[in-house]
Amino acid sequence: MKMILNKTSIMNRFAAFVVIGTMVFTVGCERVTEPEGPNLTDLYGDFTVLEDFKTSQDDVDFSANETVYFSARFSTITSWTITIKSSTSDATKIIEGRSNLINEENGTWDGSTTIFPSFGTGACTVELWTEADSSKQNANVNVTGLRVPNGTVVADFEAINPDWNIFAQSGANMSFKLASDKTVPQGSRYFDMGGAVNWDWLIGLIDFPAKSVGPNGFGLSSNPNESYFNVALYRPDTITNGVVLFQFKEDENGDGNFNEANEDMYSVELKGLDAGWQIVSIKYSDMVALENGQPTAPKGNGLHNPDKLEMISCLFLANPSSGYSQALMDYMIFTTDGPLKL
């Protein structure tokens, strides 16, 4: 009996030690005691405009790397939208945010466009809309010079380069050609990829070899984090079945050719694009090797070597049972200072 009592007593002490020990260990950790998230008064207090909406300058020359910023201040955090419209075209730039202060950090316009065509020189109207009181304030800015993107233009589609290899299937309503009957992001022409091919996913393709860009090829540095591939694409409202596949083929051994058996090919597969024009940008180092649409290990050295890029291929695909498909393409460019802004 005594033995049992002793065992029970030891057990109880051990249990108490374990419970108290783990509690002390746990509660001994530090805990943040300040409220989580933004102050509710800043979000849902009384809304007033503390500083009116204004521009930092009346004239702006984007070609000289100038920018213009807009400013305003409110008593509470609210969602706001700045809409800049050209007086000479439908070019529109939209800047959105949620804050109680609009300044150089969140309200700067660098001459880029949200809704194409690109801005031309001339007067623009600027409107600020705030959600908190649904009010609108206006300003004006005059564009005296247009922004010029920095980078290597692969194709602006103003004319067909004889070094490109263009292949289109002999399907129905094929249109692998330049066209100019729509608004374009840049210049006056774009490339129209369309058709119905009921026996193959491939509708058509274009190869852009390095030599088509110039004697130095694509002229990219060896650092894959510096180079961004950009292209403007358009999806018609009613067409959702198109797939645009870009392939980036590297010549790792420098023999002037890409060998798919033992050299790297990275891909960018684009599905479900928004309707209308949009700029698609991807950093070279973010590209992956694909096999049947799924990521796979590259077949070459496994390193991103933009300086060894030999050819870009653009394939336009659609499910053969899905009927006619179409996408438009314009202004393919490598930039080095970030994604393209037109």
């Binding site: 746990t26 805990r31 409220p35 989580e36 998230g37 849902y44 290990a297």
Partner: protein, 570 residues
């Protein structure tokens, strides 16, 4: 397609041949199901949405089970599905549903490879039940059970994962009875060889069983990215370590059980300059008192879960309220997205997710505003009291809980939200009072009332939110095999709440106003024929009504549904 059909036929033939030839070394098992539904949507003034929708399918899950030797078991299951309207092979799909092998090494170490159902504790690795599932009349389970089966959700709260698990037990002759050790490693995400690294989830549990009266345990889990599997140098980590205690003691005629769990978590991303690490702790103390069968068992529980406590394995939710219902997903002349209702939650598998989520996912306050991430819901502390009782003749079974919780720290203010929850479920077996009535005659009742309050100086940011769910069910046996089962369940939610908007690092960056005055009810009646315990035919009629007076952009609607559901497990 034709090749796949041949594979299935050959597999089945082989299976039956070997079964016949060698006894039970190889055998088949599986399930079959057929569903046909007619749905009708009605919304006043809606002239655009097609009002009728019919759908149906038949599917068969066929598993090949093999026991090549006494210590090894192999299982592979194929699903063949045919949507109604697909003839002669069109509309037929073949999928590999699950595959695993398990066995015993040296009669001591158990292992399993492939698809695995696994769980640890409610704060480390636990698949919490979805909203409304604590009170479900039998008729409401007809469709819900199909969703659970498809997504591998089980009543024991395991998550279906892929990887490896090992467990063994060491027995001792003195001082300590045994040491149970379980460990696992699952692959949560494969690399894309680009910027997305391989993500694994691993951990385990060691429980020291001193005697039947005392057990202490240690749990550890970590969700982490494996550096070097992609070009990304960033690596997500979420380690959680907890300690558990279980003590059983008899004092006079009372059985006392004390259980506790406490621990700490971290969430951080290596080499990401924008990521602020989160670190917090929790503790959970539970005391249960029972005294035979004549008195109710009583439990008292206290929890304190910090605002920065993060545990991916325990806080991942089943229902993703950011997705849309598949059936009639838009309605009204403005073709707005139809709100997710209790009917969708019962039968729309597309709302559910089978995998763990890195973020605290959006929840729906009208269905659960208090602990939407289970016991591991961050920023909660307080007391719960629970009583369970069954009368001797099983006439009445009652389970009642009252929870008084609050936040640990405020959100956007120093003032804390308070939460009060009343939870009651009861089953009355009237057939026990009628000895001559040989079939089931049961009435069930479920009530949940949740209230959330926060009073601050800024009136526009006060919180006053209440939701109530009442579920009344009935089961009447007509003969040995026939029964009528029915239910009426209504859910009301009213008031103002603020939903959190979080950034990629799980920090709150905004509060979104959520105002509702929702009333919805569902009436369900089914005629059930039971072939045997695993084989049922149900003919079901349901009607749902939904309105939200505070949100005019989502007009009121009703949805009626007639369905025939046959299910069989073999």
């Amino acid at each position: 397609m034709i090749q796949k059909k041949y594979i299935v036929v050959i597999a089945l033939t082989l299976c039956s041949t070997i079964t016949l030839g060698q006894g039970k070394k190889v055998w088949a098992s599986g399930a079959a199901r057929s569903v046909f539904q007619q749905n009708k949507l009605n919304s006043a003034g809606d002239t655009i949405t097609p009002t009728n929708l019919n759908s149906g399918n038949t599917l068969v899950d066929v598993a090949l089970n093999a026991r090549p030797n006494a210590n090894t078991f192999v299982h592979a299951m194929v699903r063949v599905r045919n949507d109604f309207g697909g003839f002669w092979g069109s509309g037929v799909t073949f999928d590999m549903r699950q595959m695993y092998l398990k066995g015993l090494v040296n009669d001591a170490v158990r292992y399993q490879l492939g698809d695995i159902n696994y769980k640890l504790s409610p704060y480390t690795f636990f698949n919490n039940q979805e909203e409304l599932s604590s009170h479900q009349s039998e008729v409401l389970n007809i469709y819900r059970d199909m969703v659970h089966y498809d997504l591998f959700y089980t009543d024991d709260n395991t998550w279906r994962q892929q990887g490896a698990a090992v467990d063994f037990t060491l027995e001792f002759s003195k001082a300590v009875k045994e040491l149970q050790v379980n460990s696992f490693m699952f692959r949560n995400r494969p690399t894309d060889f680009g910027q997305s690294s391989e993500r694994i989830f691993f951990g385990g549990n060691a429980t020291l069983l001193q005697s039947d009266k005392l057990a202490v345990g240690l749990n550890y889990v970590d969700m982490m990215d494996v550096l070097g599997t992609s070009r990304s140098e960033m690596a997500f980590h979420n380690p959680v370590i907890t300690g558990t205690t279980e003590i059983h003691q008899k004092v006079n005629a009372y059985d006392l059980s004390f259980t506790s769990e406490s621990g700490i978590s971290e969430m951080y991303t290596l080499n990401d300059p924008n990521a602020k690490g989160l670190r917090d702790y929790f503790y959970d103390l539970d005391l249960k008192i029972t005294r035979g069968d004549k008195l109710p068992s009583l439990s008292v529980n206290y929890i304190n879960v910090g605002p920065q406590f993060r545990s991916v394995g325990a806080q991942s939710r089943r229902i993703n309220f950011e997705s849309q219902a598949q059936m009639f997903n838009r309605y009204g002349n403005d073709q707005v997205v139809r709100p997710v209702t209790q009917l969708d939650m019962m039968q729309d598998a597309s709302l559910y997710q089978p995998t763990l989520s890195m973020e605290l996912q959006r929840f729906a306050p009208q269905y659960d505003n208090v602990q939407p991430y289970g016991k591991a819901t961050p920023n909660r502390k307080g007391l719960s009291v629970n009583a369970i009782h069954s009368t001797n003749n099983e006439l009445i079974n009652v389970d009642a809980t009252y929870r008084m919780l609050s936040e640990v720290v405020g959100q956007g203010t120093d003032e804390l939200r308070t939460f009060n929850v009343i939870d009651l479920s009861a089953l009355i077996r009237l057939d026990t009072l009628m000895p001559t009535f040989k079939h089931p005659l049961e009435v069930s009742l479920g009530i949940t009332n949740q209230n959330t309050q926060r009073d601050i100086a800024l009136d526009t940011a006060d919180v006053d939110f209440t939701s109530t769910m009442v579920d009344l069910g009935v089961k009447v046996g007509l003969s040995k095999d026939f029964a009528i089962i029915g239910s009426y369940r209504m859910i009301n939610a009213k008031g103002l709440e603020f939903l959190n908007t979080r950034n990629d690092y799980s920090e709150i960056v905004d509060f979104e106003r959520f105002n509702t005055e929702m009333n919805q009810s569902i009436m369900s009646v089914a005629l059930r024929y039971t072939f045997d315990e695993k084989n049922h035919l149900n003919i079901v009629w349901q009607k749902l009504n939904y309105e939200d007076a505070a949100n005019s952009e989502t007009p009121a609607f009703d949805l009626s549904q007639f369905g025939i559901v046959y299910s069989m497990y073999f």
